[in-house]
Amino acid sequence: MSVYQTHTTDVLVIGAGLAGERTAIEAAAYGLGVIILSLVPPRRSHSTAAQGGMQASLGNCAMGYGDNPDIHFEDTVKGSDWGCDQDVARLFANTAPIAVRQMAYWGVPWNRVVAGRKTLPDGREIEDLKEYEGLITARDFGGTAKWRTCYTSDGTGHTLQYTMDSIVIKMGITVHDRMEAIALIHDGENCYGAVARCLRTGQLHAYLARSTVIATGGYGRLYGVSTNAVINEGSGMFLALETGVVPLGNMEAVQFHPTGMVPVGILITEGARGDGGYLLDKNLHRFMPDYEPKKKELASRDVVSRRMIQHIRKGYGVESKWGPHLWLDIRHLGRKHIYTNLREIANICKNFAGIDPARDLIPVRPTQHYSMGGVRTNIDGHAYGLKGLFAVGEAACWDLHGFNRLGGNSLAETIVAGMVVGKKVAEYTLGAALDCPLKLVDEHVKRQENRINDLISGRMGNENVYELRKQMEDTLMEYVGIFRNGPDLQKAVDKLQELYRRSLKLGLRSSGKYANPELASALRLPGMIRLALCIAYGALNRTESRGSHAREDYPYRDDANWLKRTLAYWPPGAELPILKYEPVKITELPPGDRGYGESSAANAAKPETAHDKEGNNG
């Protein structure tokens, strides 16, 4: 008999970022008991770091006139390179305006329309009309036909998270912070909650719930250089994967953000380019118009990132001791604009690079940023494979983003999905009984206890967690980056398999007792390497280029063979995931030309996509 604390609730939400909290609020509104587990206090969640904004087709600002959910839907599908689920994209685009307005009602100080004539940085004259004054305004973001990204200066994530959390507090929803879920409790058919480890005391807890929601965000920290917070280690995804029955969708779809600051990888928001910032090369030449005459710096993120690397490969990068980079220039926006609308950027530049962006150029390079893949769910957010398990936000493959997410669609997804999935969770929970056999709970806790004891005693071996982790990060950076090819991906898979075997023989150097941070890392590492393998192996097998997945040896999108989603399973004892595939759901917009990017020009000469003209209305 193990010693652990047990908590029983209706709904267990793992993760307290925007997606988790919005789901919890929706479920609690149905009168259900909800417990949220979080690694950190909710307001420290990575959602807080989002600077740029949240897309919703309000059509209030001059450059947004005429916008509507249809156009938002089209932009999202094109952005995804036709990899998304169109039912989900439609539901999302229709709901986003309500979500933005509800956040305004709850207290978000969205920037508002100021009437009058303005001159854009490129010289265009626009006029915001009096009749829209005071309504929520929007800024320009990559891959969108209209200005649609609602924002609060460049602290959008901060204001959304603080407002959301204020509603959680107001509703009295229970939050257990510094509590890390380390395994799901399940019997292969139903999910009954999770085993968690307290990051204050090291004590184990069992949470039993009628439904469990994974809302743990992305896995940026698998990569050595990422814009993600250090807590973004993909934990919810590997917990689901470890059940053996829940697949992860499209793990090979990894987004790189064009402007991570060199060398630290801290994000410089797309708002900087949206507001008129340029990219320059070592000759201070603005090169993006050469590649993308129409969308320039505001083509979608996958395209801008690849163009930057292409340009660097041609020898136009600025040499530095951290490797070549490019420049982001926002000086022409003026000190006033930079220190009000882009103030967080100014602070980041000052604090982490010692530069003043009103006077200096910002060194940038594409940096790992977002995971389109995650726990595969249906449109209700219900995970494949286990009843009572849901996933939401970046941790999920819902699948709104397909192979590339548009800027401003991630914040929008967290909240829209939280609303939609929260309702479905509530409906499911109201009809579900909590009939978890306590023996099963005991077994699951015991298993985790054994893992911990093995690590502390060094019984399995003495591999060093930090060394293996570093090698995993380097392997992904080097071989599973922006441009990919068969031989490199094979190298990555081989190396990661070796690391995986070694990760089963970790031994701690410290005591491992109480809130020990080395133990926490050691418990995560094998799961993280499994995710890394899903990414690399999925990428190796997908012999086409789509969205963020760019194969040098297969440069074209191949709809005939690859209009399908990868599902990665990890059976017990496996050393590689098993890949299965399912078709992508196309409802309204048949595959066609995105209107930007490499495939745009190439498609004209490609016979298999020539018939897709009707999709080309960009």
Binding site: R44, W106, L135, I169, V264, Y466, S510, A515
Partner: protein, 249 residues
């Protein structure tokens, strides 16, 4: 440039093992260009002492997790460059907050309690109508709310506050700033009188003794003293307005 050898003297204590008294432990580390305390502490943990406890999340001065006393001053460790410090660096956890271990403190519980105490959410009688267009607000007002909303709850102002260090119920500059954020928001329908109930006390706006360390220590550069003056003025007015009523009642 000759590489400096830095000496870190770090406070060690685990409340789970009270039999081991608090002590200072020294670590040595070669300085690297652009090194922040985030980089340094992670290097120490990964290469020298994997048991060392400290908190980072965003490592970009956005989330407020990593505040600690750096050579006696409350600062965000993530944006503190070692080149701005002498070769001997002393690190302590923030005071006032409950210690979790070594440099890690429980700011989450403190701030949630403060939010509950100040009822830091929009109080409104209006219902949300999903079909309706949003309420209008002028942009200047929106920007003003955002100015007061920029606090990241790192706790630097609380740690450096004389009052917070001697009375545990004081909501501090962060709490008063939070109240100011809702006072300037036209969506919040609370009257000055209702606010008075929340902060018109020694635990709230009248507890401050005016040493101004909060504003000096704020890594976000928030005008905390101005916010205090704003709230205090409103509370003084609300207090005066309440007096005749009290007498009549």
């Amino acid at each position: 440039m000759a590489e400096r050898l830095l000496t870190f003297s770090i406070f060690r204590y685990n409340p789970n093992t009270p039999e081991i008294k608090p002590y200072m432990q020294e670590y040595r580390l070669g300085e690297m260009p652009g090194m922040t305390l985030f980089v340094a502490l992670n290097k120490i943990r990964e290469e020298q002492d994997p048991s060392l406890m400290f908190d980072f999340v965003c490592r970009a001065a956005i989330c407020g997790s990593c505040a600690m006393l750096v050579n006696g001053k409350p600062r965000l460790a993530c944006k503190t460059l070692t080149k701005d410090l002498p070769p001997r660096i002393t690190l302590f956890p923030l005071p006032v907050f409950k210690l979790i271990g070594d440099l890690s403190v429980d700011t989450g519980t403190w701030f949630r309690h403060m939010s509950l105490k100040t009822e830091a959410w929009i109080h409104t009688t209006r219902e949300f109508d999903p079909q309706a267009r949003e309420e209008r607000m002028d942009n200047e007002t929106a920007l003003k709310i955002y100015e007061a909303e920029r606090c990241i709850e790192c706790g630097c102002c609380i740690a450096g506050c004389a009052t917070a260090n001697i009375r545990e119920d004081f909501i501090g500059a962060a709490g008063i700033n939070r109240v100011a954020r809702f006072m300037v928001d036209p969506r919040d329908e609370r009257s000055p009188q209702e606010y008075f109930e929340v902060v018109g006390t020694e635990e709230g706006t009248f507890g401050c003794v005016g040493l101004m360390a909060c504003e000096d220590n704020c890594p976000m550069g928030l005008p905390l003293q101005m916010q205090l003056a704003y709230v205090r003025r409103k509370m003084a007015a609300a207090g005066l307005a309440a007096r005749p009523q009290t007498r009549a009642g």
